[in-house]
């Protein structure tokens, strides 16, 4: 089963990346034009989200009714429900970074694959930022055993 899971993850990443290219979302200019409400607004990103969510609604409705995957493995959907400062501050910082360069994690990795050198800089800084949070979190947990553990479930 693990080999098949690896195969489907590869297919998913590939189709996701091609979707980003086809939709134009690998272009930071196009993303910035969507975020520029006061300028010449390009609504394309909204339709990308709409198309993706249109399919996603069906897929996750099916997933929610199942306890196992089509390969027989466990269905691991996030179960965290708390809306806290951490979620809001984190999303705010992400949004600022997204606005500055017009890049978010997916398109940055695809741009790397397209041979863009500047994307390498972005990805290195991003991985550095992620590690920083993890290191600080571990240090805090070390001092305070009651501190909440870093969420490892990806959303």
């Amino acid at each position: 089963m693990r080999a098949r899971e690896t195969f489907f993850a590869l297919v998913s990443g590939l189709v996701f990346g091609i979707g980003l290219i086809v939709s134009g979302m690998t272009s930071p200019q196009k993303v910035s034009s969507f975020l520029d409400l006061a300028g010449d607004w390009d609504p394309s990103l909204g339709l990308v989200m709409g198309g993706a969510i249109g399919i996603g609604l069906f897929a996750f409705a099916i997933a929610r009714r199942r306890s196992t995957t089509l390969l027989g493995g466990p269905m691991r959907l996030p179960n965290k429900r708390t809306i806290d400062v951490r979620l809001v501050v984190g999303s705010m910082l992400f949004g600022i970074g997204w606005g500055i360069a017009g890049l978010c994690p997916g398109p940055a990795i695809v741009a790397l694959g397209a041979g863009n050198g500047t994307a390498l800089l972005f990805v290195a800084a991003m991985l550095g930022g992620m590690s920083l949070v993890d290191v600080l979190e571990r240090a805090r947990e070390g001092r305070d055993p009651n501190a909440s553990a870093a969420p490892t479930t990806a959303e």
Binding site: G17, S23, G51, R64, V89, M130, E155
Partner: protein, 145 residues
């Protein structure tokens, strides 16, 4: 607001969006996982575990996407106009922010909203709002970018 109709690409946006939705569907239905790219990348920074293989496979798929796309169409060249300093600051903010907020445009924006998760709705509203505000300040107040 003026809509830039000449720049608006509704069909390619919709088709690309559907592909992104299908990719997320494949990952959740076959692997039981959320296609959250920031989470997948952050997971690769952890010591190797049972999850390393699928995360690596997904990431390789993303990296290989331009090559596969180029087999049918022209090479998808990407132009980043931000200065290196801006790119580094932006990257660091995206890294710290997605880790604290447990997700990005894919995990919260696509998968989370598809799951009708209130947490993801708050996250998506927040990062979209922050993105709108950042671009507004940069372009229309500070006059950069």
């Amino acid at each position: 607001m003026t809509v830039a109709w000449s720049a608006f690409t509704p069909w390619s946006a919709l088709v690309g969006g559907v592909l992104i939705g299908l990719a997320s569907a494949v990952l959740v239905l076959f692997n039981g996982r959320i296609a959250g790219i920031s989470g997948i990348l952050a997971g690769l920074l952890e010591p190797p575990s049972a999850d390393t293989r699928w995360r690596l496979a997904f990431t390789i798929g993303l990296v290989a996407a331009p090559l596969c796309f180029a087999l049918l169409r022209a090479w998808p060249s990407v132009t980043i106009t931000a200065t290196p300093l801006e790119v580094i600051i932006a990257g660091a903010l995206v890294g710290v922010g997605t880790r604290l907020g447990s997700g990005c445009t894919s995990g919260h924006g696509v998968c989370g909203l598809s799951r009708l998760s209130p947490r993801s709705l708050v996250a998506t509203g927040t990062f979209m709002g922050a993105g709108f505000l950042t671009v507004f300040l940069a372009r229309h107040v500070l006059g950069i970018g």
